[in-house]
Symmetry: C2
Subunit: 333 residues, 2 copies
DNA sequence: TTGTATGCGTTATCAC
DNA sequence: GTGATAACGCATACAA
């Protein structure tokens, strides 16, 4: 493998000039630049990235912290991150944390040791032991932490939940249950707030019984929906905080002999690819998953390279997708 | 940040001894080891990974090449890789190639430049421009290249397809269509072989018309199944090479007014989590996705570290999962 | 078992 | 605009 020294010898210039030709071409005269470039080709010189990383204390690598890569929504986000990272010359280290805080911290430490230049966090934690540590480039997406000045990228979750609830109300539903994510997550609280707001606007009493806490899994959709139907006043519509739980719920409700949407409406969140292909096709909130990733990577890039165009808070658009899993409320006959 | 020199001063030993204490503790006397360890704690010394990587020409990082991370089966495999990699002290670089050969080569070059120590390839290419280049630790999984000596981890795809086809035949089906993946993929050819073998054993003529080439997407399941039903002799069963295409197919067939499985049977491959929750629940071939990943990482680790226990060819178990999307063949009434 | 000394390949500082 | 040279922090060959 040719080194920078080999190139400098062949080009008849110093190693410094070769280095400059590569990283700051405008600081080299056109003439010597040509000579050096020729020598680089002749020697088939490839800069030693490890040496460069070591010297510059940069790795051109970012780590993405994800609770679970097998979640279809997250994997789309990661695809968006990866595509944009490639374009910007960054590699993506995968940090599947399974929600484990220690793993988050382990990965976050890779930034402190310069193994990575920044972090994209998809969960609603701050992955540091103490916030007073050294400055770490980070952006928080999808499920954002409140009360910090960490740049975030999200949709207006409260508004999205409000709109979906309003839509269900517009269909005549008055007893609308909701299957949530983990209660401590910001995203859960935001969406719950939107849900309650819509109820209040429609002068429908909020019934605590109508809330069931899920964990975003298919299974939790089935168990939660089953539980909800045991209520003294079972709901006529169920709003799930992701599509997996909605699909789990529909499966369960069908098993109980209910027809969707004639007997009960079900709505989801995310608009994963399967939503459209389900039976019935799922009414849901569509989120721009890839754009989440791409915007996050772009923002992180700006932070790392101290571009002053850092937007502290980016809101992306969501869309209510109406399909066949929701329908008008019908009184029992 | 404390360096190895700071530690050596405090401990009153040479930097070499500190270095040894960390990487080859048994080469240091118990007494000095204690002293050094105390000094490490006192200074809160953390080895500079970048310097170490540079010096040792190793990165403790592997790259995984995946055609599409958003594919639920692949994301489970990657989860398996990542979990095992963490345990072995390796970081995982994500290489979403979108099937692009140039991207594969770009990522593969990271190994040649020591930015990564090895590769796990999930697609059926060899990610090198020429095979005569320097030796690169690599393992190939899921969809394996033939005729190379690259270690592979796979299920017996031909056998799995044969068994599933046999099962459909046992239900009385004689016109069994198959929706494949890309024709040039090893996995497609293997499964096709198994399918044909089962037909032959049952003395059923192979009908080229019964093959439709898909691309593993939901959409291709719908278009392929639609096409197949236009055949002069439409099939009474469709075997799809993944669950997404099976779900796409069922959606399409239902739209055409067909009942599953009364009018037509559909089987998939992979047993993704949604398979069980579909309506009807999908008959499919279950593959141990996480185990694929974990076995691959373990094997790659052995190769990188030249453990002699490298198994060139690992076969994992599959299982035919019979659910409700397949049923007995019924003559038209 | 331990210490000394060297160098890995690059970038950055400072002269010229 | 260019060159000489000093780091960067570590691991290791070799000497002791």
């Amino acid at each position: 493998m040719a080194t920078i020294r080999d190139v400098s010898k062949i080009a008849g210039v110093s190693v410094a000039t070769v280095s400059r030709t590569i990283s700051k071409p405008d600081k080299v005269s056109a003439k010597t630049r040509k000579i050096v470039e020729a020598a680089i080709i002749e020697t088939d010189y490839k800069p030693d990235i490890l040496a460069r990383n070591f010297r510059t204390r940069k790795s051109s690598t970012i780590v993405v912290l994800v609770p679970d890569i097998a979640n279809p929504f997250f994997s789309r986000v990661i695809r968006g991150i990866e595509q944009t990272a490639q374009g910007l010359g960054y590699a993506v280290l995968l940090g599947d944390t399974q929600g484990d805080r220690n793993r988050e911290i382990t990965y976050a430490n890779m930034v402190k040791t310069s193994q990575a230049d920044g972090i994209i966090q998809l969960d609603s934690h701050i992955p540091f032991e103490n916030e007073n540590g050294p400055y770490v480039p980070i952006v928080n997406i999808c499920d954002c932490v409140r009360g910090t000045d960490i740049p975030t990228i999200e949709i207006d979750n409260a508004l999205a939940a409000e709109k979906m609830t309003e839509y269900l109300i517009s269909l005549g539903h008055k007893s609308i249950a909701i299957i949530t994510g983990p209660v401590d997550a910001t995203i859960t609280q935001d969406r719950l707030r939107g849900y309650k707001k819509a109820l209040k606007k429609a002068k429908i009493d909020f019934v605590p019984e109508n809330i069931s806490v899920g964990d975003y899994s298919l299974l939790s959709g089935t168990t939660s929906s089953h539980d909800l139907m045991q209520n003294t006043h079972p709901p006529s519509a169920i709003f799930c905080m992701n599509d997996e739980m909605a699909i789990g719920a529909i499966t369960q409700l069908k098993k109980m002999g209910l027809r969707i949407p004639e007997d009960i409406s079900v709505a989801g969140f995310d608009d994963i690819s399967f939503a459209e292909y389900y039976d019935p096709p799922l009414t849901t909130v569509s989120q721009p998953a890839e754009e989440f990733g791409s915007k996050a990577m772009q923002t992180l890039y700006n932070i790392i390279n101290k571009n002053d165009l850092i937007q502290k808070h980016t809101f992306l658009d969501f869309e209510i997708i109406i399909r066949k899993s929701t329908g008008p409320f019908k009184y029992e006959t």
